[in-house]
C-alpha cells in the first residue's frame, strides 16, 4: 500500500479526490481485516503516539467527551491496555474471542492539508458468540495522518465510532473493538 500512497494526489486543502478516497478505503479495509483476524498488536501499531479512541453513549451520540458520559474514551495508554488485555485469556468477555465481520462503506475522505485527512465512513459489525449474533451499526469519524513510509499508509490520530443504536440492548456490551 505504501508504495501507492501519493500525498500529492490527495489534492488541495478541503478536496476529496478519488486517489485520496481510494487510499483511505485501502487503509480502512486493512484496519477491519486486522480486527476481524484478532491481529490486535498490529492494529494498535496503526495509531499515533498521541491518539484517542472514542465511543459516545448511545443516548448522546453528539455528546462532548469532556462533559458527557461516554462508552469509551481511551488515550494511548488505555488503548494499549485494552488491546493487551484482549490478547490475554483473562478478558473473559472475549475469551475465547468472538467472531466478527466488519463492513466499512460510504467513505468520505477530506484532505486537511499536509497529509492530514478527515474521514467519515459507515460500519456494520456483527459479533457472533455462544448462539447469539449481535449487530453494531454506526459510523466512524477519524483523523488520519499520511504515513508514506509506513506499511499501512496512514496512522490514526483520532478514531470515534458512533453507534446507530438507541441502546446496547440486547447486546449488553462492547467487548470488541469498534
Amino acid at each position: 500500500m505504501s508504495a501507492a500512497l501519493d500525498v500529492a494526489a490527495f489534492g488541495a486543502v478541503g478536496e476529496r479526490t478519488l486517489a485520496l478516497r481510494h487510499a483511505v478505503e485501502e487503509f480502512l479495509y486493512h484496519d477491519a481485516d486486522l480486527l476481524d483476524r484478532w491481529r490486535l498488536a498490529e492494529w494498535l501499531a496503526l495509531f499515533t503516539d498521541e491518539c484517542s479512541y472514542l465511543v459516545p453513549s448511545t443516548d448522546r451520540p453528539e455528546g462532548d467527551p469532556f462533559t458527557d458520559l461516554y462508552l469509551i474514551q481511551d488515550d494511548r495508554f488505555l488503548l494499549e491496555q485494552r488491546v493487551d488485555s484482549l490478547l490475554t485469556k483473562t478478558a473473559w468477555a472475549e475469551s475465547p474471542h468472538s467472531r466478527t465481520r466488519r463492513l466499512v462503506t460510504n467513505v468520505v475522505a477530506t484532505h486537511l492539508g499536509e497529509g492530514a485527512v478527515e474521514v467519515r465512513a459507515n460500519f456494520l459489525i456483527t459479533r457472533s458468540r455462544k448462539a447469539t449474533v449481535d449487530t453494531y451499526p454506526g459510523h466512524y469519524e477519524m483523523l488520519l495522518e499520511a504515513d508514506p513510509g509506513g506499511e499501512a499508509g496512514f496512522r490514526i490520530r483520532m478514531r470515534k465510532a458512533v453507534l446507530a443504536l438507541e441502546e446496547l440492548r440486547p447486546h449488553g456490551r462492547v467487548s470488541i473493538i469498534l
Partner: protein
Amino acid sequence: MAGTTYVIDDRETPRFRVHRSAMVEPAVLDLERANIFDRCWLYVGHESEVANPHDFRTRRVGGRPVIFTRDATGSVRVFVNSCPHRGMEVESRSEGHGRFLKCFYHGWSFDTAGELVAMPDDEAYGPNFDRQNMCLPRPPHVDSYRGFVFLNWDPAAIDLGTYLGNARTILDLVADQSEHGMSVLGGTHLYSMRANWKLLVENSFDAYHAMTTHQRYIDMLKASGRDFSVRQVGPAARGVARRGPMDLGGGHAVTGSVDTSDGDVLGALGREFPDEAARAKHKARRARLVELYGEEWVNRMLGGRNHLIFPNLFVIDLVMGCTIRTFYPDAPDYMEVTAWELVPNGEDEQLRHLRMSNFLTFWGPAGLATPDDVEALERCQRGFAAYQAAPWNDLSRGMNGHPVNSEAQMRVFWRHWNKLITGEELSPEDHILFDPERDGRRVHGTAAEARP
C-alpha cells in the same frame, strides 16, 4: 411460592444456600413483580437530570413508562407516560425540554404539572365531562431523599424515609461530597444482560470476584503506576482499609472501606494520579471536606462503598468514580440495566477529567471490567439450565464472622427477598447489624446546611 424453599439459612454448619429455580422459573418472576416491584420504592432518577423547569426525561420504572419532569414552580414531578384518553405513551423522546407534553394520537396536551390544557374539539364532550381529572396519571407515591427520586406503585406503601431507614446515612456519604450539590452527567449507559436480575444484585457488591474476574483491570492499574504493595494502616499508609459489610435493615446493605491514606490515593480501585499537582488537588478537596464534616466522615466518604437499596438500586462510589445503577427483569433470564455517572459540582477540571476517565475504564458495557461481569453472569445463567440436577447456589462465605470478601451483604438481600416471596422470616446476622459508630460519624451538618 408458598411451601417452596428457595433459601436455606443454616446457622449451625454454617451454610447459606439459594435454589437456582429462583433465577429460572417464570412463576418466580410473576411473584417478584407482584410482591417486590409493585410494593417497594423504586429509583426514578436524580433531581439534577431535570435541572430546569420543563426539562423532562422518559424511562421505565418497575416495568412501567414514566415521565420525570420539573413543573413551572420548580417541583420535581413523575407521571405515568400514558394518555388518560386512550393510553398512548405521550412522550417518546428520552429527554427534552418543553412547557407542554402533547399526545399526537388525538392531540391532547398537558402541562408539566400534568394538567390537561387542551383537547381538540372540546365541545363534543359536553359541559359535565370531568376535564379536571383527565390529567396525566400519577404513581401512588413519589418522594425524594437528597436528590434521589423514588416512586412506589403501592397505594398502601410506607413513606420513603421509613423505607430507606439506615440507608439514608449511606446516601449522605455520597450527597455530602460537594457544597455545590451533586449532578448526573449527560449520557447514559443503557445495556442489558442475558441473566437473572438478582445475579446483578449479588455481583454489584461482590468483593470476592474482583481478583479473578477483573484481573485485567488490576493489571491496568499496576501499569498506571498504582502501588498495591503498601497497604498497611499507619503514617506511611497509602491504602484503603476494607470494612466488613453492614446490614442496614429492610434488605438494604452496604460494603465499604475507609481511606487510610490521608487522600494519597483515589480509593481502592483508582489509577495512580497522573502528577503530583493532581494529588495535591485531591488532598485540598479532602481538607475542605474535613473542615465541613470532620476526619472520620471524610475518611469513610473517600474510602468508597457499594450500596444496595432494595430491591434494584445500587449507588457504587469507588471514589475514583460514582455510578448509580438500576436494573429490571423483562424475563427470568434477561434484564435491562441503566447506569449513570454522579459527580460533585464545582470540581477541579483536572480531577473531573481523571474521574471521568477512571469511571469509564472500570464501569460501563465497554470498560475493562463490566463486560467481564456481563460474561460471568450470562455464564451463570447458562449453567442454571441444569438447575434440577445442580440446584443450589452457595453464599456461605463470612457466616463465621470473617469480614474479608464476605458474602453477608448478599445474604441480607436474599433474606429480605425470601420474606417478600415466601413469607418466611429469617433472622439477621448479628455481627453485621447497622452501627452508626463503626466507621465514623459526621460531626457537623449536611452539605446543604454548610452552604453559605
